[in-house]
Protein backbone atom coordinates (compact mmCIF):
# COMPACT_ATOMS: atom_id res chain seq x y z
CA UNK A 1 0.00 0.00 0.00
CA UNK A 2 1.04 3.61 -0.59
CA UNK A 3 1.86 5.59 2.55
CA UNK A 4 2.54 9.33 2.62
CA UNK A 5 5.89 9.88 4.30
CA UNK A 6 6.81 13.04 6.17
CA UNK A 7 10.51 12.83 7.09
CA UNK A 8 10.65 16.22 8.80
CA UNK A 9 13.89 18.02 9.56
CA UNK A 10 15.26 15.35 11.89
CA UNK A 11 15.00 12.40 9.49
CA UNK A 12 16.74 14.38 6.81
CA UNK A 13 19.49 15.32 9.27
CA UNK A 14 20.35 14.10 12.74
CA UNK A 15 18.14 11.00 12.51
CA UNK A 16 19.31 9.91 9.06
CA UNK A 17 19.60 6.27 10.15
CA UNK A 18 15.89 6.19 10.96
CA UNK A 19 15.12 7.41 7.45
CA UNK A 20 17.53 4.86 5.94
CA UNK A 21 16.14 1.93 7.94
CA UNK A 22 12.49 2.87 7.38
CA UNK A 23 13.11 2.98 3.63
CA UNK A 24 14.92 -0.38 3.81
CA UNK A 25 12.14 -2.24 5.63
CA UNK A 26 9.04 -0.66 4.12
CA UNK A 27 9.37 -2.40 0.72
CA UNK A 28 9.60 -5.95 2.12
CA UNK A 29 6.65 -5.13 4.41
CA UNK A 30 4.53 -4.23 1.40
CA UNK A 31 4.59 -0.47 1.76
CA UNK A 32 5.46 2.14 -0.79
CA UNK A 33 6.54 5.40 0.83
CA UNK A 34 5.65 8.57 -1.04
CA UNK A 35 7.36 11.65 0.36
CA UNK A 36 5.03 14.58 1.08
CA UNK A 37 5.89 17.06 -1.70
CA UNK A 38 7.72 20.24 -0.70
CA UNK A 39 7.08 19.67 3.01
CA UNK A 40 7.96 22.27 5.61
CA UNK A 41 9.17 22.09 9.20
CA UNK A 42 6.32 21.32 11.61
CA UNK A 43 7.59 23.93 14.06
CA UNK A 44 8.06 21.62 17.07
CA UNK A 45 8.88 22.53 19.74
CA UNK A 46 9.31 26.26 19.18
CA UNK A 47 6.01 27.08 17.44
CA UNK A 48 3.77 25.69 20.17
CA UNK A 49 5.75 27.64 22.74
CA UNK A 50 5.48 30.94 20.92
CA UNK A 51 2.43 31.15 18.66
CA UNK A 52 -0.86 29.24 18.64
CA UNK A 53 -1.66 29.89 14.99
CA UNK A 54 1.74 28.89 13.58
CA UNK A 55 1.86 25.76 15.73
CA UNK A 56 -1.30 24.72 13.88
CA UNK A 57 -0.67 26.22 10.44
CA UNK A 58 2.83 24.83 9.80
CA UNK A 59 1.85 21.15 10.20
CA UNK A 60 -1.54 21.87 8.58
CA UNK A 61 0.22 22.86 5.35
CA UNK A 62 1.96 19.47 5.36
CA UNK A 63 -1.35 17.70 5.84
CA UNK A 64 -2.80 19.56 2.85
CA UNK A 65 0.23 18.52 0.77
CA UNK A 66 -0.12 14.91 1.95
CA UNK A 67 -3.81 14.83 1.02
CA UNK A 68 -2.81 15.81 -2.54
CA UNK A 69 -0.89 12.54 -3.06
CA UNK A 70 -3.99 10.45 -2.43
CA UNK A 71 -2.75 8.03 0.24
CA UNK A 72 -4.85 6.62 3.06
CA UNK A 73 -2.11 6.88 5.66
CA UNK A 74 0.44 9.52 6.58
CA UNK A 75 3.39 8.76 8.82
CA UNK A 76 5.56 11.31 10.57
CA UNK A 77 8.21 9.12 12.24
CA UNK A 78 9.67 11.82 14.50
CA UNK A 79 7.35 11.83 17.54
CA UNK A 80 7.50 15.61 17.87
CA UNK A 81 6.37 15.93 14.23
CA UNK A 82 3.77 13.21 14.75
CA UNK A 83 2.24 14.94 17.76
CA UNK A 84 2.05 18.31 16.01
CA UNK A 85 0.68 16.75 12.82
CA UNK A 86 -1.90 14.70 14.69
CA UNK A 87 -3.04 17.72 16.71
CA UNK A 88 -3.14 19.98 13.67
CA UNK A 89 -5.39 17.54 11.83
CA UNK A 90 -7.70 17.42 14.83
CA UNK A 91 -7.89 21.22 14.91
CA UNK A 92 -8.27 21.34 11.12
CA UNK A 93 -11.37 19.14 11.33
CA UNK A 94 -12.82 20.16 14.69
CA UNK A 95 -12.00 23.85 15.20
CA UNK A 96 -13.60 25.79 12.35
CA UNK A 97 -12.12 29.12 13.40
CA UNK A 98 -8.57 27.75 13.11
CA UNK A 99 -9.30 26.37 9.67
CA UNK A 100 -10.85 29.70 8.75
CA UNK A 101 -7.67 31.49 9.81
CA UNK A 102 -5.62 29.12 7.64
CA UNK A 103 -7.89 29.68 4.65
CA UNK A 104 -7.69 33.43 5.15
CA UNK A 105 -3.91 33.29 5.35
CA UNK A 106 -3.45 31.20 2.20
CA UNK A 107 -6.44 32.55 0.27
CA UNK A 108 -7.80 29.06 -0.49
CA UNK A 109 -10.61 26.79 0.72
CA UNK A 110 -9.80 23.33 2.04
CA UNK A 111 -11.89 20.16 2.36
CA UNK A 112 -11.81 18.28 5.69
CA UNK A 113 -8.77 16.04 6.10
CA UNK A 114 -9.36 12.28 6.07
CA UNK A 115 -5.85 10.87 5.90
CA UNK A 116 -4.98 8.66 8.88
CA UNK A 117 -1.95 10.10 10.74
CA UNK A 118 0.18 7.31 12.21
CA UNK A 119 3.27 7.30 14.33
CA UNK A 120 6.35 5.25 13.55
CA UNK A 121 5.41 2.24 15.71
CA UNK A 122 1.78 2.24 14.64
CA UNK A 123 2.62 2.21 10.96
CA UNK A 124 4.79 -0.93 11.19
CA UNK A 125 3.38 -3.00 14.04
CA UNK A 126 0.50 -4.60 12.14
CA UNK A 127 2.53 -5.21 9.00
CA UNK A 128 5.29 -7.17 10.70
CA UNK A 129 4.67 -10.91 10.96
CA UNK A 130 6.90 -13.88 11.87
CA UNK A 131 6.91 -14.74 8.15
CA UNK A 132 9.08 -11.67 7.49
CA UNK A 133 11.79 -12.91 9.85
CA UNK A 134 14.86 -14.29 8.12
CA UNK A 135 17.08 -14.51 11.17
CA UNK A 136 16.26 -14.00 14.81
CA UNK A 137 18.09 -11.59 17.06
CA UNK A 138 18.76 -14.38 19.55
CA UNK A 139 21.06 -13.47 22.41
CA UNK A 140 20.41 -9.73 22.19
CA UNK A 141 19.16 -8.26 25.47
CA UNK A 142 17.56 -4.87 25.22
CA UNK A 143 15.46 -2.39 27.13
CA UNK A 144 12.73 -0.71 25.12
CA UNK A 145 12.63 3.02 25.61
CA UNK A 146 9.53 4.80 24.33
CA UNK A 147 10.16 8.23 25.84
CA UNK A 148 7.32 10.61 26.58
CA UNK A 149 6.25 12.23 23.33
CA UNK A 150 4.87 9.08 21.70
CA UNK A 151 2.67 7.97 24.55
CA UNK A 152 1.62 11.01 26.59
CA UNK A 153 -0.94 12.37 27.13
CA UNK A 154 -3.13 9.54 25.82
CA UNK A 155 -6.38 11.47 25.53
CA UNK A 156 -4.95 14.12 23.30
CA UNK A 157 -2.87 12.11 20.89
CA UNK A 158 -4.87 8.93 20.52
CA UNK A 159 -1.89 6.58 20.75
CA UNK A 160 -2.92 2.95 20.88
CA UNK A 161 -0.58 1.88 23.65
CA UNK A 162 -0.56 2.27 27.43
CA UNK A 163 0.88 5.66 28.44
CA UNK A 164 2.64 4.32 31.56
CA UNK A 165 3.56 0.78 30.51
CA UNK A 166 3.55 0.57 26.72
CA UNK A 167 4.16 -2.83 25.11
CA UNK A 168 4.25 -2.28 21.37
CA UNK A 169 8.05 -2.16 21.04
CA UNK A 170 8.32 -5.19 23.34
CA UNK A 171 5.99 -7.01 20.98
CA UNK A 172 8.05 -6.05 17.93
CA UNK A 173 11.29 -7.09 19.64
CA UNK A 174 9.72 -10.41 20.63
CA UNK A 175 8.79 -11.05 16.99
CA UNK A 176 12.40 -10.22 16.06
CA UNK A 177 13.70 -12.74 18.61
CA UNK A 178 15.42 -10.27 20.95
CA UNK A 179 14.98 -10.47 24.70
CA UNK A 180 13.26 -7.41 26.20
CA UNK A 181 14.11 -6.69 29.82
CA UNK A 182 11.41 -5.11 31.97
CA UNK A 183 12.59 -1.81 33.40
CA UNK A 184 10.96 1.18 35.07
CA UNK A 185 12.08 3.96 32.71
CA UNK A 186 10.13 3.07 29.57
CA UNK A 187 8.41 6.44 29.32
CA UNK A 188 10.67 8.73 31.33
CA UNK A 189 11.32 12.05 29.61
CA UNK A 190 14.89 12.47 28.30
CA UNK A 191 14.60 16.25 28.29
CA UNK A 192 15.17 16.66 24.57
CA UNK A 193 13.21 19.89 24.35
CA UNK A 194 15.73 21.38 26.79
CA UNK A 195 18.87 19.88 25.25
CA UNK A 196 19.94 23.20 23.76
CA UNK A 197 18.64 25.52 26.45
CA UNK A 198 19.14 23.78 29.81
CA UNK A 199 21.81 21.14 29.38
CA UNK A 200 22.36 20.60 33.10
CA UNK A 201 18.80 19.37 33.38
CA UNK A 202 19.01 17.23 30.23
CA UNK A 203 22.30 15.58 31.15
CA UNK A 204 20.97 14.65 34.60
CA UNK A 205 17.91 12.82 33.28
CA UNK A 206 19.93 11.21 30.48
CA UNK A 207 22.43 9.92 33.03
CA UNK A 208 19.59 8.45 35.10
CA UNK A 209 18.13 6.69 32.05
CA UNK A 210 21.50 5.31 30.88
CA UNK A 211 22.32 4.17 34.42
CA UNK A 212 18.99 2.38 34.78
CA UNK A 213 19.44 0.69 31.39
CA UNK A 214 22.89 -0.49 32.39
CA UNK A 215 21.75 -1.69 35.83
CA UNK A 216 18.90 -3.58 34.19
CA UNK A 217 21.45 -5.65 32.28
CA UNK A 218 20.64 -4.36 28.80
CA UNK A 219 23.22 -4.58 26.03
CA UNK A 220 21.44 -1.89 24.05
CA UNK A 221 18.58 0.58 24.29
CA UNK A 222 15.90 0.27 21.62
CA UNK A 223 14.17 3.53 20.69
CA UNK A 224 11.46 4.84 18.42
CA UNK A 225 11.95 8.54 19.09
CA UNK A 226 14.46 10.67 17.20
CA UNK A 227 14.79 13.08 20.10
CA UNK A 228 15.47 10.32 22.64
CA UNK A 229 17.96 8.71 20.29
CA UNK A 230 19.83 11.98 19.74
CA UNK A 231 19.95 12.70 23.43
CA UNK A 232 21.04 9.28 24.66
CA UNK A 233 23.42 8.42 21.82
CA UNK A 234 24.88 11.67 20.50
CA UNK A 235 25.12 13.18 23.95
CA UNK A 236 26.31 10.04 25.75
CA UNK A 237 29.90 11.31 25.59
CA UNK A 238 28.80 14.65 27.06
CA UNK A 239 27.03 12.86 29.91
CA UNK A 240 30.13 10.74 30.52
CA UNK A 241 32.25 13.87 30.63
CA UNK A 242 29.98 15.71 33.02
CA UNK A 243 29.37 12.84 35.44
CA UNK A 244 32.69 11.00 34.98
CA UNK A 245 30.77 7.88 33.98
CA UNK A 246 31.83 5.31 31.41
CA UNK A 247 28.60 4.51 29.58
CA UNK A 248 29.02 2.79 26.26
CA UNK A 249 25.51 1.66 25.42
CA UNK A 250 24.32 1.55 21.81
CA UNK A 251 20.99 3.31 21.28
CA UNK A 252 19.39 1.66 18.26
CA UNK A 253 16.18 2.38 16.35
CA UNK A 254 13.74 -0.51 16.39
CA UNK A 255 13.50 -0.18 12.61
CA UNK A 256 17.22 -0.94 12.29
CA UNK A 257 16.83 -4.11 14.36
CA UNK A 258 13.70 -5.07 12.44
CA UNK A 259 15.70 -4.74 9.24
CA UNK A 260 18.44 -6.96 10.61
CA UNK A 261 15.92 -9.62 11.68
CA UNK A 262 14.31 -9.42 8.25
CA UNK A 263 17.65 -10.32 6.70
CA UNK A 264 18.51 -6.91 5.26
CA UNK A 265 22.32 -6.43 5.13
CA UNK A 266 23.63 -4.38 8.08
CA UNK A 267 25.29 -1.84 5.78
CA UNK A 268 21.86 -0.89 4.40
CA UNK A 269 20.50 0.00 7.84
CA UNK A 270 22.59 3.01 8.86
CA UNK A 271 24.35 1.44 11.86
CA UNK A 272 27.45 3.45 10.96
CA UNK A 273 25.56 6.69 11.62
CA UNK A 274 25.14 5.99 15.32
CA UNK A 275 27.62 7.62 17.69
CA UNK A 276 28.00 4.60 19.96
CA UNK A 277 28.76 1.94 17.35
CA UNK A 278 26.50 -1.10 17.87
CA UNK A 279 28.36 -3.26 15.35
CA UNK A 280 30.95 -4.77 17.76
CA UNK A 281 28.03 -5.93 19.96
CA UNK A 282 26.06 -7.30 17.00
CA UNK A 283 29.18 -9.03 15.69
CA UNK A 284 29.90 -10.63 19.06
CA UNK A 285 26.40 -12.15 18.94
CA UNK A 286 26.90 -13.27 15.34
CA UNK A 287 24.04 -11.08 14.19
CA UNK A 288 26.07 -9.35 11.49
Amino acid sequence: MKVAYYPGCSLSGSAKELDISIKAISGPLGMELVEVPDWNCCGASSAHSTDHFLSFALPARNIIKAEEIGCEELTAPCPACYVRTFLAQKQFNEEPHMKQHLENALGQKFAPSGIKVKNVIEVFIDKLTPAHMKKGLQGLKVVNYYGCALVKPPKTFGFFDDPENPKSLDKIMATCGAESIEWPYKTECCGASLCFTNQDATFKVCRDILQMAQDSGAQAIVVACTLCQGNLDMRQSQVNKKYKTGFHIPVIYFTQLMGLAMGIPADKLGFDKLFVDPRPLLRSLNLI
Partner: protein, 188 residues
Protein backbone atom coordinates in the same frame (compact mmCIF):
# COMPACT_ATOMS: atom_id res chain seq x y z
CA UNK B 1 8.65 38.69 53.40
CA UNK B 2 6.52 40.39 50.75
CA UNK B 3 2.89 40.83 51.66
CA UNK B 4 0.34 40.02 48.97
CA UNK B 5 -3.33 40.96 49.05
CA UNK B 6 -4.87 37.96 47.34
CA UNK B 7 -8.35 39.45 46.88
CA UNK B 8 -6.93 42.51 45.14
CA UNK B 9 -4.60 40.35 43.09
CA UNK B 10 -7.41 38.12 41.90
CA UNK B 11 -9.60 41.08 40.91
CA UNK B 12 -6.75 42.78 39.11
CA UNK B 13 -5.87 39.71 37.07
CA UNK B 14 -9.33 38.38 36.36
CA UNK B 15 -9.22 39.31 32.68
CA UNK B 16 -5.89 37.59 32.24
CA UNK B 17 -7.13 34.43 33.91
CA UNK B 18 -10.22 34.36 31.71
CA UNK B 19 -8.03 34.74 28.63
CA UNK B 20 -5.75 31.97 29.84
CA UNK B 21 -8.74 29.67 30.28
CA UNK B 22 -10.00 30.50 26.82
CA UNK B 23 -6.66 30.06 25.05
CA UNK B 24 -5.67 26.87 26.82
CA UNK B 25 -9.13 25.34 27.21
CA UNK B 26 -8.09 24.52 30.79
CA UNK B 27 -9.33 25.84 34.12
CA UNK B 28 -6.61 25.94 36.80
CA UNK B 29 -9.43 26.37 39.34
CA UNK B 30 -10.07 22.63 38.91
CA UNK B 31 -6.79 21.75 40.66
CA UNK B 32 -7.23 20.41 44.21
CA UNK B 33 -3.53 20.21 45.02
CA UNK B 34 -3.07 16.44 45.07
CA UNK B 35 0.48 17.08 43.75
CA UNK B 36 0.61 14.11 41.41
CA UNK B 37 1.95 16.45 38.74
CA UNK B 38 4.79 17.57 40.96
CA UNK B 39 5.50 14.03 42.11
CA UNK B 40 5.89 12.79 38.55
CA UNK B 41 7.54 15.85 36.98
CA UNK B 42 11.02 14.87 35.76
CA UNK B 43 12.21 18.49 35.87
CA UNK B 44 10.76 19.58 39.14
CA UNK B 45 14.28 19.49 40.61
CA UNK B 46 15.31 22.44 38.50
CA UNK B 47 12.12 24.54 38.70
CA UNK B 48 11.64 27.51 41.01
CA UNK B 49 7.99 26.54 41.60
CA UNK B 50 6.74 22.97 41.14
CA UNK B 51 3.77 22.56 38.74
CA UNK B 52 1.21 22.13 41.54
CA UNK B 53 2.35 25.42 43.03
CA UNK B 54 1.98 27.15 39.66
CA UNK B 55 -1.65 25.91 39.59
CA UNK B 56 -2.20 27.32 43.09
CA UNK B 57 -0.59 30.63 42.13
CA UNK B 58 -2.91 30.89 39.15
CA UNK B 59 -5.90 30.25 41.40
CA UNK B 60 -4.74 33.15 43.56
CA UNK B 61 -4.09 35.43 40.61
CA UNK B 62 -0.32 35.65 41.05
CA UNK B 63 0.10 36.18 37.33
CA UNK B 64 3.32 38.21 37.26
CA UNK B 65 5.06 35.68 39.47
CA UNK B 66 3.95 32.83 37.19
CA UNK B 67 4.94 34.59 33.97
CA UNK B 68 8.37 35.47 35.33
CA UNK B 69 8.99 32.00 36.78
CA UNK B 70 11.62 29.63 35.43
CA UNK B 71 9.09 26.79 35.62
CA UNK B 72 7.15 27.76 32.52
CA UNK B 73 10.37 27.76 30.44
CA UNK B 74 12.01 24.66 31.79
CA UNK B 75 8.87 22.54 31.54
CA UNK B 76 9.93 19.94 28.97
CA UNK B 77 6.34 19.39 27.78
CA UNK B 78 6.62 15.64 28.50
CA UNK B 79 2.95 15.57 29.60
CA UNK B 80 3.46 13.18 32.51
CA UNK B 81 1.39 15.65 34.58
CA UNK B 82 -1.43 15.76 32.02
CA UNK B 83 -1.44 11.95 31.84
CA UNK B 84 -1.84 11.54 35.60
CA UNK B 85 -3.98 14.52 36.67
CA UNK B 86 -7.10 13.18 38.43
CA UNK B 87 -8.92 16.40 37.51
CA UNK B 88 -8.16 15.88 33.81
CA UNK B 89 -6.29 19.14 33.58
CA UNK B 90 -3.94 19.33 30.62
CA UNK B 91 -1.20 21.06 32.59
CA UNK B 92 1.22 20.78 29.65
CA UNK B 93 -1.21 22.76 27.52
CA UNK B 94 -1.45 25.38 30.27
CA UNK B 95 2.35 25.63 30.41
CA UNK B 96 2.44 25.97 26.61
CA UNK B 97 -0.12 28.75 26.74
CA UNK B 98 1.74 30.53 29.54
CA UNK B 99 4.91 30.37 27.45
CA UNK B 100 3.09 31.72 24.41
CA UNK B 101 1.67 34.60 26.46
CA UNK B 102 5.01 35.38 28.11
CA UNK B 103 6.73 35.23 24.71
CA UNK B 104 4.12 37.50 23.17
CA UNK B 105 4.60 40.01 26.01
CA UNK B 106 8.36 39.80 25.61
CA UNK B 107 8.85 38.45 29.14
CA UNK B 108 11.78 36.05 29.12
CA UNK B 109 12.52 36.25 32.84
CA UNK B 110 14.79 33.38 33.77
CA UNK B 111 14.17 31.64 30.45
CA UNK B 112 16.49 33.76 28.31
CA UNK B 113 18.10 30.74 26.65
CA UNK B 114 14.70 29.38 25.65
CA UNK B 115 13.64 32.77 24.35
CA UNK B 116 16.72 32.99 22.12
CA UNK B 117 16.28 29.39 20.97
CA UNK B 118 12.61 29.78 20.01
CA UNK B 119 13.23 33.05 18.18
CA UNK B 120 16.21 31.67 16.24
CA UNK B 121 14.31 28.49 15.40
CA UNK B 122 11.19 30.29 14.19
CA UNK B 123 13.27 32.70 12.08
CA UNK B 124 15.07 29.78 10.49
CA UNK B 125 11.77 28.19 9.47
CA UNK B 126 10.47 31.56 8.27
CA UNK B 127 13.49 32.04 6.01
CA UNK B 128 13.74 28.54 4.57
CA UNK B 129 10.57 26.63 5.37
CA UNK B 130 12.74 24.03 7.06
CA UNK B 131 15.13 24.12 9.96
CA UNK B 132 18.72 25.03 9.14
CA UNK B 133 20.65 23.37 11.95
CA UNK B 134 23.97 25.18 11.59
CA UNK B 135 22.18 28.52 11.52
CA UNK B 136 20.22 27.54 14.61
CA UNK B 137 23.33 26.42 16.49
CA UNK B 138 25.24 29.58 15.61
CA UNK B 139 22.31 31.87 16.42
CA UNK B 140 21.78 30.11 19.73
CA UNK B 141 25.42 30.11 20.77
CA UNK B 142 25.87 33.78 19.89
CA UNK B 143 22.54 34.79 21.42
CA UNK B 144 23.25 33.04 24.71
CA UNK B 145 26.99 33.94 24.61
CA UNK B 146 27.81 30.30 25.12
CA UNK B 147 30.05 29.93 22.10
CA UNK B 148 31.43 26.46 22.69
CA UNK B 149 28.16 24.62 23.42
CA UNK B 150 27.92 21.37 21.42
CA UNK B 151 30.99 22.10 19.33
CA UNK B 152 32.25 18.67 20.43
CA UNK B 153 29.41 16.86 18.65
CA UNK B 154 29.21 19.23 15.66
CA UNK B 155 32.14 17.75 13.73
CA UNK B 156 31.16 14.08 14.22
CA UNK B 157 27.63 15.00 13.11
CA UNK B 158 29.01 16.59 9.99
CA UNK B 159 31.27 13.61 9.28
CA UNK B 160 28.29 11.26 9.56
CA UNK B 161 26.28 13.39 7.15
CA UNK B 162 23.84 14.45 9.83
CA UNK B 163 24.02 18.18 9.21
CA UNK B 164 24.13 19.99 5.92
CA UNK B 165 26.33 22.98 5.27
CA UNK B 166 23.69 24.89 3.33
CA UNK B 167 20.04 25.57 4.13
CA UNK B 168 17.33 23.93 2.03
CA UNK B 169 14.74 26.41 0.89
CA UNK B 170 11.35 24.93 0.03
CA UNK B 171 9.52 25.92 -3.16
CA UNK B 172 6.44 27.03 -1.29
CA UNK B 173 8.33 29.51 0.87
CA UNK B 174 5.80 32.21 -0.10
CA UNK B 175 3.08 30.21 1.65
CA UNK B 176 5.20 30.01 4.80
CA UNK B 177 5.71 33.77 4.69
CA UNK B 178 1.95 34.24 4.33
CA UNK B 179 1.39 32.11 7.44
CA UNK B 180 3.92 34.14 9.42
CA UNK B 181 2.47 37.44 8.21
CA UNK B 182 -1.02 36.31 9.16
CA UNK B 183 0.19 35.14 12.58
CA UNK B 184 1.68 38.58 13.16
CA UNK B 185 -1.59 40.21 12.14
CA UNK B 186 -3.90 38.21 14.39
CA UNK B 187 -1.41 38.05 17.26
CA UNK B 188 -2.43 34.62 18.54
Amino acid sequence: MKEINLTQMLNKNKDFLDKLKEESGQNPGQCFQCMKCTGGCPFQFIMDFPPSQIMRMLQDGLVDEVLSSFTIWTCAACATCSTRCPRDLDITRLMDTLRVIAYRKGISGKGKNMHVFYTTFMNSVKNNGRLYEIGLALGLNFGTRNLTQDTDIGLPMFMKGKISVFPHKIKGIDEIRKLYDYAGKIGE
